[in-house]
Amino acid sequence: MMQSAVSARTTEPARLLRPYLLLIGLLGWIVLAWLLVGMRGRMGWGWVWPAGFFLGLAVLVGLQPVRLPRGAVTTVGFAVDYSCLLIFGPAVAGVIGLVSETVLLWKSPGSRKLFNQGQVVLAFAGAGLVYRGLGGQYVQLAGSVPFGEKGVALIASGVTYFSISSLLIAIGIALWERRPVAGVWAMSFRWTAPRFLALAPFGLLMAMVYQTPGLGLVAVGLFLAPLVGARYAFQGAMEMVAVHRETVWALSKALEAYDPYTRDHSELVTRYALAMGRELALPAPRLEILEWACRLHDIGKCRQDWESIIRKPGKPSEREWEVIRQHPVEGSRLAERMEFLPHTAGEVARIVRAHHERLDGSGYPDGQAGERICLEARVLGVADAFEAMTARRAYRQPRTTQQAFAELRRCAGSQFDPQAVDALIALWERGELLVEDSLEQAPLPALLAAVGEAAGGMG
């Protein structure tokens, strides 16, 4: 029951994809049949009604995912899956998982449905094997289980479930996007592991509550009520996060939109930096932080005298140079007051502060060098420089992309991070970098023209 954020597809999927999906699906069905035959006669029929309840629960949980900002989705399905395993064992849990996946993926293509069925069953089978192997028992078979003594079996089975499931899906995505499996897994799953395994105690508690004599399903229902409440509150919080993001980005864009020198600069920098971040296999949360930093990296330039300092012919005076050197500091101070991502306080501000540092330590404001500058800031630095070189500006001809690359290569190692430069060039060579200005034009120019007209009429 894991879902990864849908990522943009640029290449044809590998030819092996279809056979892989079918293989996993078939393997799953065969294993399930084998498990069911092995279970036959040992459990009676007492499990049917509770299993139906848990099936309904699995489907409900799957239908009510928490939508994180930017289209990513998370569910607490693992908690239900895990308690199914502990209560019923892998055979019945496999049936529950298989049916719920089928319902949830009703409209998906057949091969994807088949794959997910197989993937769930295999994960349950592996986890069950580990659990039994380490001496664990199932509630429905044993009546009640002293879970307190089986800590190792419980942890190992949870880890097994997550490993099998995430690995099988990562292979599928890797074949679909023609990227290395390790990279896909690192980007989409490695960072979710703690959050995922933190759900295991919920599953365990649910199984323990279920085995209370005379209560069973009622107790499970009572246990779930606060979690449902939490889910809705969390969803509300996520909506607020989305509104916050939308507002800050729109307004920070408006602040630079009316300036012919900077119009769309941050938008393009964001686009380049995110593509590079993906190329460097940054995990999703760090990409999100990078995006915030890109959007806000120049807000330190919001001051009335900035233009006059920058456009003044000749060398800037000592005071003006100080203003220029301070803009990342000012920007990070402002970013600190605006960012909101749970658990990442200060990250965005740190990147904004460091985006004019150079690898050899001759940058500003802190003169940090090498690895001391965080990777996101190095990526942002390259994207910023590339955009500045290639953008069409009213006051000068842009350099060609090739000239810009030559310049970046020349300064790689001293000013720029070679890794980031290579990533950018690799993206360009594969045709995945949209350098042409294809940004949608907001309705701002029309109003700007109106202001111009009014000003003309005045003069």
């Binding site: 002293p146 307190g148 509104v243 001051r303 109003l447």
Partner: protein
Amino acid sequence: MSEKAKVKSEKAKGGPSRFEIRDSRDRLSPLRLLASSTPRLFLLPCYVGATILAGMLALAHSLGGWGMVELGGWELALFIGLAAILDVMVVPVAGVGAMAASFAVFFAGLLALGAGPTCWVAALAVLWSDGIVRRKPLARSAFNASHSVLSLLGVGWIFQQLGGEVGTVVLNRWQPIGAVIASAVCLWLLETAWVSAAVALERGGGWWRRLTSALGPGLAWDGALASAGLLLALLYQSRWELVGQSSWQGALFLGATVLIPCGLLYYAYRLQGSLGEVYSQSLRTLGALLEAKVEGSQPGHGEQVAKLATRLAESLELPPAQVEQIRYAGYLHDIGKVGVPSAMLSRGRDQFGGEPEAVRLHAQLGSGILSPIRFLQPAAEMVKAHHERWDGLGYPAGLRQRQIPLGARVLALANAYVGMTHSPAQPLTPDQAISRLKQAAGSRFDPEMVVVLARVLCASGEVTRQEAGEVEFARQ
């Protein structure tokens, strides 16, 4: 601002009932203005004192009925511990200020231990979390502990009247189920009523209004917690026979079953609550950025306008969501000026004393920037109309009187007042500004709004009573 001064000044003026508000479309009815009942600070100590006294008497009395369930010392310790942890988890609720997650343990105790022991659990937990963790004044902590004790004893009595049996809750017959549900509802109602009365006495706003506005949000929170509490009671009743052989394992299990779901619920509520603050902070920062970028704007202007507009909106008793949008509009009302060439902005007024055409466009430009943000739609409309005039001679649309959105009228007045009192060239004193605004009431500004502004500023002592009083005199 001193509450007493407010009360006194209202008395001096003969109360607010003399304002005549003709149109109730803006929810500005005389009834509402009346209902903004002032805090009754002389009644508050009586109420709090009576509650504390009754609570202490009830606690002492409940010692007599102790033996309803045989209680081991550490079982009581488990309940006290859980209640103490959950009582620290407090979420803000409109109307009553805050609600704690300890509701779950109180309810569980009521069912499993009976009201007598539970009110001791509650008293200890509340005194600990309020008095020691949150360092509230003793009277406040004691009041909170006392109202919990009294509600618990009352609901315990109701539970028994409905045929519930302490320590043996069964859920396979309808009558005990009904008793359980009714007790949960009564506990929720009693607690909310008790606290909202105190808050109404302390901060004004009317008891009934505070109670009704608190019941809705409290229902989801307390309902979820009641469910967790019932589960705790049931598991406690089964004495964790099956769970663990030694009692520490049982305690761990019981604790986890309550603390983990309630903790998650608390975390999600907190997250949701903290985001509003973060959002407001971001808009303030963006507004300040705008002031740094646009020539001729006063640093801090947006923030001051937002503050004053919020005070105005609050004294009009507008719904919280609308007050919020007015505040946002205050921070950002001049955002359209980023689109106006700086040469225009610094040119000053033309020979007729009006702003240049290009500057006039800023209202429309600003709403153009804000309106793509769906959440800020209402604020965008206010920004668009914040230079409209009451007599219809404003811009951009030339709206008249109540065609102008209420928020925009609030904003226009706040903007004018802050502009006058903080003008870099020749700042006016608040009294001078108010008398200027009074001259413009009915032409530039909504006359009723000017009255409200005068009242707000007079209550906080910024404007002398004579100046504010004359407004009323002029209106009679």
